[in-house]
């Protein structure tokens, strides 16, 4: 069952990924901008925004898995929370890399202590700390308990971080999905949604693979232990 799901996912992922690259670079119309650099830079939006969304989603999964762990004490939930935190950090890292690449030609600077940027950085730091904590603790139910607690507090903090930093003026482009002025036109909207779907499949695929790997590590270690015992 498992291999079939994985294979199907991989094939779907490859197809959607190639399609979204085609859509982004060959199909969707260029935006009107003062120079070519800005036009090209705009394409990053189709990677940047889905990464951010999937980052949030990963951390939401960390939260859910942490609660589930504390309720059931099953190793499975701990592994899911770790796997998802790792992928979340990866996605937010992508956000933090693609953001400045876009900002340099458009704003003329790599980084500014703007609300969105700062809150994304803080978000990244929260989950890097979560992963660091796990590195420092020996494996066992104690570690699982402690990291679940941090996984819960961390996620509850996320909206508060965003809320608090909105106090500052933001020059970051507004949320694009909002209707009205500045909302996405047809082809752009379609391309964006397609890219988002692709990233979601990517997330699901990496999560499965990472989880399987962690589980495999457990099985292997257990088998070594059994051999020692017998």
């Amino acid at each position: 069952m498992r291999p079939t799901i994985d294979k199907t996912l991989l094939i779907v992922l490859l197809i959607t990924f190639l399609t979204s690259i085609f859509l982004i670079f060959n199909w969707v119309p260029q935006i009107k901008a003062s120079n070519e650099a800005e036009q090209i830079a705009q394409k990053i939006f189709y990677f940047h925004v889905p990464s951010a969304w999937l980052g949030f989603m990963s951390f939401f999964v960390v939260f859910v898995a942490s609660v589930a762990y504390l309720a059931t004490r099953q190793r499975r939930w701990e592994l899911i929370s770790v796997a998802s935190a790792e992928i979340g950090v990866l996605f937010i890292t992508l956000v933090l890399i693609t953001g400045p690449i876009w900002a340099k030609p458009v704003w003329g600077i790599w980084w500014t202590w703007d609300a969105r940027l700062t809150s994304s950085l803080i978000l990244w730091l929260i989950y890097v700390a979560f992963l660091m904590l796990r590195r420092y603790l020996p494996d066992g139910s104690k570690r699982a308990n402690l990291s679940a607690v941090v996984g819960i507090i961390g996620f509850i903090d996320v909206p508060i971080v965003y809320y608090s930093i909105r106090w500052w003026e933001t020059q970051h482009p507004n949320a694009v999905m909002a209707s009205g002025e500045g909302s996405l036109a047809g082809p752009m909207f379609f391309t964006f949604m397609f890219s988002l779907a692709t990233f979601t499949i990517l997330y699901a695929y990496i999560l499965r693979k990472r989880y399987q790997l962690l589980e495999l590590e457990d099985t292997l270690n257990k088998q070594f232990k059994e051999m020692e015992i017998l």
């Binding site: 494996d139 590590e217 257990k222 015992i229």
Partner: protein, 238 residues
């Protein structure tokens, strides 16, 4: 039939890659003195953690006086003595006992403190900071702290580690008197001869399971040692 003090059925603890205990069946009657023998890493500490309600088993059932070990009433009936002191160096002996007494909601605390301090012969040092105590004195205070709330079940986790002869003697005397009071006592140790002096029954934990469950009178400590302790650890023990 009376409720056993402790009843474990098919208790296992494993978590991910860690196997700590497998299929432990154990029944201890009230007033029994049981020695748990086994080398480091055999699962002794995990077993004590499960009995004291700090750790949960992955499967199987644990009953302490007929109920769950995590229950507050059960925790109040329990005392642990280990090589860790569970004392604050920056508080006096008296303050430490007062703190513990309040946490365990001991009735008539003042009187109890007087009694236990007398029992461990520390009355004259009660206003001194624990940090200034010798190792032996600290251990005596640890004992006083443990019996302050008159526990029905004493768990001793390698209590002889690092003690001088006097403190060991005192601990042995105390354990004997606690046994006479009808308290149930579980002791993990490397020291087979002391175990033989004190306890009537023993179990051997090896590779996370109970390998042997027998009576002390029918055993020869040297045989057990030969069978279950590696040469390396024998050297450590002597």
């Amino acid at each position: 039939m009376a409720v056993p003090a402790l009843h474990l059925e098919k208790v296992s603890k494993d978590f991910g890659r860690i196997i700590a205990l497998r299929n432990i069946d154990l029944k201890v009657e009230p007033g029994e003195f049981l020695s748990i023998l086994g080398r480091n890493g055999a699962g002794k500490t995990t077993l004590l953690n499960i009995i004291s309600g700090v750790s949960r088993p992955s499967s199987g059932s644990v009953q302490l006086f007929g109920t769950d070990p995590g229950d507050r009433e059960n925790k109040a009936k329990l005392a642990v003595i280990s090589h860790e002191m569970f004392l604050y160096g920056n508080l006096t002996a008296l303050e430490n006992l007062e703190y513990y007494g309040r946490m365990y909601s001991v009735n008539d605390l003042e009187q109890r403190i007087k009694t236990v301090l007398h029992e461990v012969e520390l009355t004259h040092r009660r206003f001194d900071l624990v940090a200034a105590f010798s190792r032996g004195m600290t251990q005596r205070l640890t004992i006083a702290r443990a019996i302050l709330h008159q526990p029905s079940l004493l768990l001793l986790d390698e209590p002889f580690t690092g003690l001088d002869q006097q403190a060991i003697g005192m601990l042995i005397d105390l354990l004997k008197s606690q046994k006479e009071l009808g308290r149930t006592i579980l002791l993990t140790t490397h020291d087979l001869h002391t175990a033989k002096v004190l306890s009537e029954r023993y179990i051997i934990l090896e590779k996370h399971q109970i390998m042997q469950d027998g009576l002390m009178t029918e055993t020869n400590p040297d045989e057990i040692r030969k069978k279950y302790f590696s040469p390396l650890e024998k050297a450590e023990m002597s």
